[in-house]
């Protein structure tokens, strides 16, 4: 492996026309690919990489699972510092701000495509996805792949037991709370919970209600953004959650993705989770897919204009340089670009979408899936994309997405403060004020460390 890399570097130093035949004899060029998806998603993803390997003989993607998203991010950064970064890393959406500011650690996708002469039609991608990973002038920085949005899943059997109509999920927070109270009265242990608490209850919530997470269009406008999550609508919502927690209708499922397990085991009746959790729920929830209802995230009717579109989460693929003092050969970049072009094909996009519940990223793939009758056979599978386009699709500065540096840390801060509020140690207002104060320190440090 090491010797091959050395050989490649030597080949890159030689003139390009000579290099290609030499490589053909040395076997395929290995492209390392680190991802953060556990089973079953990881297996499906690696299956796609294997399809690429079988489709040609020049490059070989070597996939490896590196733990959760944050762990994968940390591993890739540490590897870069050591000069052994992977060619491609899957980075979750909160790492986007950090990656955008990473300078020569990353190889922007627009550069990669321009240098290798390979083209990908990004105009076909959903605006919400394209906007998330591009610079202000529209140049793409990363390769979108598994974008999701948060939606509401509910257990139809639990709804029936509580005398609720399993085909009529609650659309507003008032209706959700009333339904949760009925579920509670019917003896359901966990009427409602959530996975990724800050993503669903702060970030998605803010977009749906057109409230700012931070100034400067949630950080899209520059590194000087300041948090605004202590706005009245957000505080009101945390209050609702605290009250629901007290009356036993909302249970804190833990940080990050921990809440998924409670719904997967059939204990929770309602969960707000990533649309990408569909693959797991369909396999694990007792009763399978026919027992699971899919719905859009609820909203407060009295907030002007609500509901707006939700925002994307999930992850994208970033091409990385090898290390601070190490470069890659043109051949390696070409391999990365060809893999990106491979996964941009409508049939791959459609396959990933229908298998997993992640979004269909391109219009072509969406139309293709719709024409195949998939949404008629799988009710609810189009909920994520419809929710992304809710509100007429005119995005505001608050609903385009979030691009804040150090956002991984800010999320943990918000989770800590929410936990302390739910424990009764502080009010909702204090929790969000503390989040803003502590989060702004992170933002200023990031701004300082990344000022050129």
């Amino acid at each position: 492996m090491k010797r091959r890399t050395l050989g490649l570097t030597a080949a890159a130093l030689a003139s390009a026309p000579l290099a290609a035949p030499a490589l053909a004899q040395g076997g395929p060029v290995e492209i390392s690919f680190w991802h953060g998806l556990a089973q079953p998603l990881g297996g499906i993803l690696e299956g796609i990489a294997n399809q690429f390997n079988e489709s040609q003989r020049r490059y070989r993607i070597v996939s490896s699972f590196r733990g959760s998203y944050p762990e994968t991010m940390v591993a890739a950064i540490a590897a870069f510092r050591a000069g052994t970064a992977p060619h491609i890393v899957q980075m979750f959406e909160v790492g986007t701000g950090t990656m955008m500011a990473a300078g020569r650690a990353i190889k922007p996708v627009h550069e990669l495509l321009a240098e290798t002469g390979i083209s990908i039609n990004f105009d076909d991608y959903l605006p919400a996805v394209r906007g998330y990973y591009s610079l202000a002038d529209g140049r793409m920085m990363a390769m979108p792949f598994n974008s999701s949005t948060a939606i509401m899943f509910y257990n139809k059997e639990a709804f029936r037991r509580a005398g609720l109509d399993p085909e009529q999920p609650p659309a507003t927070w008032a209706a959700l709370r009333a339904a949760a109270q009925r579920l509670r009265a019917a003896g359901i242990e966990v009427p409602m919970t959530t996975a990724w608490p800050t993503w669903t209850q702060v970030e998605q919530f803010s977009a749906i209600h057109n409230q700012p997470i931070a100034t400067l269009d949630n950080g899209f406008g520059g590194l000087g953004a300041e948090l605004r999550v202590n706005n009245p609508v957000q505080v009101r919502h945390l209050n609702t959650l605290i009250e629901m927690s007290r009356e036993g209708t909302f249970r804190w499922g833990g940080r990050d993705g921990a809440g998924d397990a409670i719904f997967a085991s059939g204990q929770a009746a309602i969960i707000h989770a990533s649309s990408g959790a569909r693959a797991r729920f369909v396999r694990e929830v007792p009763g399978g897919v026919s027992n699971i209802g899919f719905a859009m995230l609820p909203y407060y009717e009295d907030v002007p204009g609500a509901p707006f579109n939700s925002i994307i989460g999930g992850a994208a693929f970033w091409a990385m340089n090898r290390g601070p003092n190490a470069t890659r050969s043109a051949e390696e970049f070409r391999g990365i670009a060809e893999f990106f072009a491979f996964i941009a094909q409508p049939r791959i996009v459609a396959f990933w979408h229908t298998e997993t519940g992640f979004l269909p990223l391109t219009r072509t793939a969406f139309e293709q899936v719709r024409a195949s009758g998939f949404y008629d056979q799988n009710p609810g599978a189009d909920i994520p994309i419809r929710q992304l386009l809710r509100g007429g699709g005119q995005m505001t500065g608050n609903t385009r997405g979030i691009r804040l540096g150090g956002f991984v840390e800010i999320r943990v801060i918000m989770q800590e403060e929410m936990e302390r509020a739910l424990q009764g140690q502080q009010t909702a207002q204090q929790a969000m004020d503390n989040s803003v104060a502590r989060g702004n320190v992170v933002l200023r440090n990031f701004e300082r460390a990344n000022r050129a």
Binding site: V74, R104, Q267, V412, Q423, N445
Partner: protein, 297 residues
Amino acid sequence: MSAPAPASFLFRGRLLPLALLAPQLAVTLIFFYWPAVQALYQSFLREDAFGLSRHFVGLENFADVLTDPTWLQALWRTILFSTAVAGLALTVALFLAVQADKHIRGAATYKTLLIWPYAVAPAVAAVLWLFMFHPHIGLFGRMLNGLGIAWDYKLRGDQAMLLVIIASAWKQVSYNFIFFLAGLQSIPRSVLEAAAIDGARPMRRFWTVVFPLLSPTAFFLLVVNLTYAFFDTFGVIHAITQGGPGKATETLIYRAYTDGVMNLNLGTSAAQSVILMVMVIVLTMAQFRFIERKVHY
């Protein structure tokens, strides 16, 4: 400490002794001194996550850490946590060792079983406790809730703290048990018999004869346990609570990890490591001084 014999006394050249020492010296230099120096160096810098830009900030990282109220809270929490873990692990181990030292049937089996948990890695131990006490899927967690006790360590800080204390102490009981048992067995029978003949009852014999003779062992174990609770419980906390809920189980070592590895603030994390390093040095010095005195009483 006696003065070491001159090298020429045992070895003819200088090369052979150096060669024999080299592996250990290399391990010490590469795995202890080099990272320590790196940490010291980084604690004066502020840099971005990828290491592409860095600048010298003097003592600013230390000032940031020492004035951060959440860090100071973590310091007190760590002291509380460590005292509780050491206290619990020592008491339980001493009790078990005294029981195992008696002439009972199957003593050998009993002793072996008590030593087993030490072979379990902290993270694995933590996962066992996690599965037992998870409020929704754990056997005991559900049982507690069924009994009407609102058990939810994912949200209640005190319960989370209790759980990590018990899980950490459980892990250390076996280690303490071995030492206490060895200590008990080295107490001469004649002393105990003499006390018994003088009419001292078992409890009195324990507190006036056994316990004082065990005190060097106990003190050694206290230091080892405190060090363990301070630095080696990362795996337990990481697997069970990740420092939460809120910051209820965030100890100093966990804080250094979160800041350095998860949040990628290498400067502040390095400063915290340096502070921790000073603490270990002080703790170790105290131990050597005190033990030296104790041993030669």
